[in-house]
Symmetry: C2
Subunit: 227 residues, 2 copies
Amino acid sequence: MSKKIKITVDAVVFGYDQESGIRILLVKRKYEPFKGEWALPGGFILESENLEDAVERELYEETGVRINYLEQLYTFGKVDRDPRSRIISVAYFGLVNSNHYKDIRADTDAEDVDWIKIKDLPSLAFDHKVIIEKAVDRLRSKVRYEPIGFELLDSKFPFSDLEDLYGSLLDKPIDRRNFKKKFMSFGILTELNEFAPKKGAGRPGKLYQFDEAKYKARKENGLFFEI
Amino acid sequence: MSKKIKITVDAVVFGYDQESGIRILLVKRKYEPFKGEWALPGGFILESENLEDAVERELYEETGVRINYLEQLYTFGKVDRDPRSRIISVAYFGLVNSNHYKDIRADTDAEDVDWIKIKDLPSLAFDHKVIIEKAVDRLRSKVRYEPIGFELLDSKFPFSDLEDLYGSLLDKPIDRRNFKKKFMSFGILTELNEFAPKKGAGRPGKLYQFDEAKYKARKENGLFFEI
DNA sequence: GCAAAAGTGTTGGGCCTACACCCATGC
DNA sequence: GCATGGGTGTAGGCCCAACACTTTTGC
């Protein structure tokens, strides 16, 4: 029987900004095991709590972040993945607009909290490196067949932000004309009559907005989103 | 803390044959709760047992089936999914050649075991209906971008078996010429100089074999399998 | 010889890729 | 006026979908 087996949840939360690219929200552990090492936010689930609620609670407790997109990633259950005892972790994968959490501060349970570039990960507690690798794979593939990238951007964004995001996610240069043609052909973006705030030189870009209602409607009718 | 939370594994095992199409391996429960109802094979995991080992063990104990393809599907953890207590289930998704288990017999833990057509599912214990729906979705989409269908067929098969399988999985008629052209273009099938045993009228078909080594090699070189 | 299943090529259209110049703004 | 970033169209090739007749076998 599974009496002594415990369950945790862990969250791989992605953020994005132009300068740093894709980053992950990590906490520095305050307690043993792996005290002082970076780890994914997460923790034990309560007996009367759904898995998603546990993730959202732990995430908020440890980092102050409220997530806008969350999906289950994978369950990690190797016998020896935690030195304390048999602990199985249900990992989740989340997206937030990291501009809302620029100056993130450690809460009581963690020694430190920060956004860390995925190109630049430190060594991590437990099997969290493996979890992150899986999450990155998932993000990279999912973003190609579902329009989830918007969760990482402001709700109104210039088209170039989307280009940059996809370029950095897919890790290869994008043909701006083809990309725009294709993306617009899905008919899920609304072109606004507003312009991006000017930052330095260059022509200001028009702002766009993701229209989720339209996306859902087209999906019903067999739209294939694919980049 | 998660002291009182228990963990089970469940297996959605798919089989296939020409007459019945896609079927799932189910057991009729011998004990409460849901005594006498059909359910997925599965059960509690042992403290020193990896998740996959638990699935394989439970599956063998309850049905005598040894799986050849197994992957994790999803973890179901709604607070009230089990009337006994808080039980979280890690569901797996498996494929076997059901010809090897034509006359399957109930073992000690189950009242009955059988292959049930997915078009014809009875009511099921727990949230197993939801689990199966998720597994079916996964099978249908996965078979389009990874060559896993062979696990359901004999190791040597006439091309028409593959056609029929894909037709039944994707639930739409297949253009035989285009399908064959495309599939052969991946270069992962070996054409043998043997012919299928004759069953009734009709010209006997050549036998083919999946060449996993070739598949892996081509995958390294960026082969995109996609049907 | 007829019914059943296997084997086999070509063509047209649509989509994707490749590619370069002009425009609006800040300094 | 120059540097920076935004906006935009076309042509060629490739891939995919559509489509039907012949061959081999059992009865």
